[in-house]
Symmetry: C2
Subunit: 349 residues, 2 copies
């Protein structure tokens, strides 16, 4: 009946997630001690000598995960990690987590326990307090909604809007692994559906499978930066893909960038698999997403502090203008675009 | 495939929501400045001279709301109010809200705007900052997950566990209205489904319809208590029904109660409708739920402060033992039981 009553109808996919959020959340008035509302990895709330950070994520079965290859414990772990990652992306410390879930009756209690055991494992590993939640039924499938609180001293909180010309662009770990893990899982699922007698062949692909099924949040990078006495000028975590996230930093800071293709850190296994799947490695690293590495900018004078750290790669720099370029191995500058991922686009059933 | 791999299967409905939460959240370790974790209306986090409160709620289409009679703007307003109510139920001030939603593609952008306009209206009315969220697609229906932060001085935060013998049991407003509003909506929906030419007859029932479709959170009661210099010894909001919530206070405080049937505040309109629908008014008030009134206990010596306040009714008192009684109009004490509402129970499709 909604369809009949609404005179104007703009399909959700037209705006996309970012467009929709921007559209809905423009000019939101603030009444309390909120330092920063919608628009970054987390909101910032003043709380005396430290600020409170808050971030939330929703994961929907059939959209964000596929239970035919995602074990529930891993899913719980990943759901928590994805959420915590937003706090680390503010250079903060994650402290409390609330978890809501809607489950259809096809899930027995033991399934919910499995899921929670993964969430609790993440809380244990990252020293986060699980402090509440809501559990209810769904009419179909499993929906998870997590909200995390964190904190940090005001002068150490890092937003998306502080990148300055000549700042270096740095990324942690390596990219594209989670995406290639997903390719393998999708391939093996297709083989299985064709012939249920064939066992999935996952051997030798443990690294990329773990990147997809059980990623880690880079709390360690926040600690390293603290120890090195480096406060990034801007930071974000890589959930949608390097290009999409780098564009967010540039847009937030109203600056441009030069990203060097040859500097993008990629694991040898990802190279091998890209060849096997006939995919371009750079495209995978730029647009694959779900690696949950941290992408940040630092002042040029901080380079000596991070130089040689095996967890960190300098992949480019920020420019004065607003042109965003990928500089290829052949030294050609092409415009950086985000394929990203639009969870609101129409999908074929 | 879940069905095949899990050797032990306990249906979710067997445990019920409270059972499941208790089961999953037992012995959760805490690592940070968490004062109180799972188990009350909100968690409590130490934050210097005030404490941070956090609470979350999930609302699922087809389980918690029916869009065939719930306008989207009202739904947004109600979703926010239900969440804020948990902070007021801790005697706190709600300050920030994050909203996640999963929407199927059958909803146009305008529908999401309508929903948000209701949420924003609630934020405006209750002076709460909308600071973030996540928007994604669902495979079916609409799912809302809201998390609210609040704050209060440590000595004024009210939990469920502080009721003492001889404390008075107090409730705000009146009860049963939201339930009777739902009865009318369900009746008119059935009539409409039988014969779409008949227009719904809602005239004269505005009060109970508003109680159901657009309830208010009792922020005003928190203010009144502050002005009267009364700090309740325990408090909860009435979402599931008076009996269920009173039992929560008794269990939390390890005490009993005597609740007087004749003292339960009921609007004359609810009496009329109960007669029309052939329902027992007391049963409706005890088990109807969704009134979002505040139920709390105060020390006997605070009675003079609240006496005569039209927003507050004394409906019973706390006892030393753990017997929970409803004292009927005929002065017969019967055991108080909660029918409540189990969102995890099997439902017929």
């Amino acid at each position: 009946m909604l369809e009949d009553k609404t005179p104007q109808r703009t399909p959700l996919g037209d705006l996309g997630e970012f467009g929709l959020i921007k559209h809905i959340t423009s000019k939101i008035p603030l009444y309390n001690d909120t330092v920063l509302g919608v628009g970054d990895d987390a909101a910032i709330i003043e709380a005396r000598d430290e600020q409170t950070l808050i971030s939330t994520d929703m994961l929907v079965e059939g959209v964000h995960f596929d239970l035919s290859y995602q074990p529930l414990k891993h899913l719980g772990y990943k759901a928590a990690v994805v959420n915590l990652s937003d706090i680390y992306a503010m250079n903060g410390n994650a402290t409390q987590l609330v978890v809501s879930m809607a489950v259809s009756n096809r899930f027995p209690v033991e399934a919910v326990e499995e899921l929670y055991s993964g969430i609790r494992l993440a809380c244990e590993r990252f020293h986060v307090d699980l402090v509440g939640g809501d559990t209810t039924s769904s009419t179909s499938g499993l929906i998870l909604s997590l909200t995390v609180l964190g904190k940090q001293k005001a002068e150490k909180v890092v937003r998306r809007d502080g990148a300055q010309p000549s700042d270096l662009i740095v990324v942690s770990g390596d990219l594209g692994g989670a995406y290639m893990g997903l390719q393998i899982l999708e391939r093996e699922k297709a083989v299985f559906q064709e012939n249920p007698d064939i066992q999935p062949d996952l051997q030798g692909n443990e690294y990329v499978l773990e990147r997809q099924l059980k990623p880690e949040a880079r709390q360690d990078v926040v600690k390293i930066l603290h120890e090195l006495d480096v406060v990034p000028t801007s930071m974000i975590d890589i959930s949608d893909g390097l290009s999409s996230e780098l564009l967010h930093l540039c847009e937030g800071s109203k600056r441009g960038c030069r990203l060097f293709e040859e500097k993008i850190p990629i694991d040898p296994k990802v190279y091998d698999l890209c060849e096997e799947f006939n995919l371009n490695t750079t495209t995978v690293a730029l647009n694959g997403g779900e690696d949950y590495e941290l992408l940040f900018t630092i002042k040029l004078e901080d380079f000596d502090k991070i130089k040689g750290n095996p967890n960190l790669s300098v992949i480019g720099h920020i420019t004065e203008d607003e042109n965003r370029y990928l500089v290829t191995r052949d030294n050609v500058a092409i415009e950086l675009t985000a394929q990203g991922w639009n969870p609101l686009a129409d999908k074929e059933e």
